[in-house]
Symmetry: C2
Subunit: 341 residues, 2 copies
DNA sequence: TTGTAAGCGTTATCAA
DNA sequence: TTGATAACGCTTACAA
């Protein structure tokens, strides 16, 4: 033991066996509460384990049993509140079900996503919850090939079958947001979109277009602005004028746009109305209340864990889940009549 | 293999050995790049491993070697942006150094902290980075007893020796914040404090008192309001009047106070100036800029990982680190002369 | 340059 | 009710 660097001594079943005079097997059974052990024997073993400060060695157990009771959560960036909230719910739920979670960030980069996937498989996780980068389908095909159970969260591949996912109704969300602005009299609505290789971004954009169409508003390509999803900075891409409202792909982008508008001396919603997506403020108390789209992150997270564990347990015919989206009203949308057209 | 539920087939060294006709040992050496293997042999083995989709089994490796190349990050709540930013930096740094991270939340509860500690030790993590709950010292004594390398982050136990930590200069931060308000003419400064069993909270409060004293302002017990750190809601405890400025334990509390003040029809900083702590907005772009105290979270996180890995590697005489704090100016502090006294 | 065998700590199988 | 032994996949020491 002591020969290996940085290793702290661990009490083993063998140590308890030696001390009590029973065999390793007996100790193992006693500790696991298998009732083929005598009352007194069990008590002595339990007491000795306690005294020696025994903690079971999950590594050895995993080695023997073939599972680790761990799952991996692979997301874009834990410092993004949206991912942080989701991860919190996943960890809590997984924990309740006896699983520990590995956390890995992709930074929306395919190579990092691949090495995250490889790393977690090497560590023997029983399953993976992944918010995919989606620049290509390479990593997903790799995941499929390995055979490890996995569930996508928040994003999916519409064209790929046999892949499990929990997403929110992004198209409906995009529609609701746009409709809400339209009903407040807005016609020139700027969309601050994420990249379209991300399914949620693509579908929110589809919702936006569908709403415009339903309300007879002409679609104008120049009103779609793409914001780099890793930087969330639209100071350079936000047009000076030509719109009375903004629908942003995420609350983070919405906040940033709001900030940029303020710096330019524009008032929100006086000059420009803003609606975001994710409704992060349901979890984060901020002084100013951004109008947004609720995505029920807790439900999405809990569902994804349940799906994954069902997969791990070998369940078949697991249905993918699409969580509802709703308007979350705020103070950043007003009627266009009060605005400078 | 197939007999165990939920297990996906894994390619083993043995499979490569069988396929190529070499021994497990030879395969192992070839894959690890040990240069006692013939050129052709190595190439064949590498190619076969590739074809078969081999990924190494870290569990088995850990079993043999005694380490797992994993560390645990145990914090209050990952959905708190402060913890999320720290965790992001830790994960990135750990990753660069070849470690994967387990994430566990304590919810500031001692029992959850204990079970998090036990769980990670069971899973054989090589070390732990912990932001301790601090209601008692029980869990820390337990950690000490196990002998596992660990580093505290953000909070520490001033009375305990031989415990490693990375914290920020909370007392200086508290002093700077209070002084900043005083220099803006404020004398009636409300402190929205966290619980004093948390060292950072206690020291920020000490900084507050020290600044008052240095500037000859009488300390008034009734101006210390304790806010539950898990809820961050001060709507019920925030006094209606009797102060012109607020120094909040964290940005989250500051934001919440700001929100409550707005609801009450007070303007910030017109009626009340506010300064927070953590300067979360260095990472999160928000429209309104809260005055705060910078805590250099990246540096703190990176340092904590480096310390931990040094501990794991058996290094002695590791020094604890206290990261500097600074004023981060914002738009929530104004001179008192412009305020209603 | 390659192969054999032991061992890491646990659980399962089978025997006593 | 208890004990002995094999096995999980890998690395290391040593033998060929």
């Amino acid at each position: 033991m002591e020969k290996r660097k940085g290793l702290h001594k661990q009490v083993r079943l063998k140590d308890i066996a030696n001390k009590t005079g029973y065999s390793i097997n007996t100790v193992s059974h006693a500790l696991r509460g298998i009732d083929d052990i005598g009352e007194e024997t069990r008590n002595l073993i339990l007491k000795t384990a306690q005294e020696l400060g025994y903690v079971q060695n999950s590594i050895a157990k995993s080695m023997r049993l073939g599972y680790t009771k761990t799952i991996a959560v692979i997301i874009g960036d834990i410092s993004n509140p949206h991912f942080a909230i989701i991860t919190k719910e996943i960890e809590t739920t997984a924990n309740k079900k006896g699983y520990s979670v590995f956390l890995l960030n992709t930074n929306e980069d395919e190579e990092q996503e691949m090495s995250a996937i490889r790393s977690t498989i090497e560590h023997g996780v029983d399953g993976i919850i992944l918010c995919p980068v989606q620049k290509t389908t390479r990593n997903i095909h790799y995941l499929k090939k390995t055979g490890i159970p996995f569930v996508l969260i928040g994003r999916y591949f519409p064209d790929m079958k046999d892949i499990h996912y929990t997403i929110c109704n992004d198209k409906k969300g995009g529609y609701l947001a746009t409709e809400y602005l339209i009903k407040h009299g807005h016609k020139k609505i700027l969309m601050l979109s994420g990249p379209t290789h991300i399914s949620s971004s693509k579908e929110r954009l589809e919702g936006y277009r569908a709403a415009l169409e339903d309300y007879g508003i002409e679609f104008d390509e120049s009103r779609i602005i793409f914001v780099p999803v890793t930087e969330m900075d639209c100071s350079k891409v936000l047009p000076q004028d030509g719109y009375t409202a903004i629908f942003a792909f995420s609350d983070l982008i919405a906040w940033n746009a709001w900030k940029v508008l303020r710096k330019r001396g524009k008032s929100v919603p006086g000059d420009v109305s803003i609606i975001g997506f994710d409704h992060i403020q349901s979890r984060l108390s901020l002084p100013y209340c951004l109008c947004s789209i609720s995505t029920y992150k807790a439900k999405m997270s809990i569902t994804s864990v349940e799906m994954l564990i069902n997969l791990i347990d070998g369940m078949k015919n697991i249905e993918n889940i699409i969580i509802d989206t709703d308007i979350a009203e705020g103070e950043t949308v007003s009627f266009v009549c009060s605005q400078s057209e």
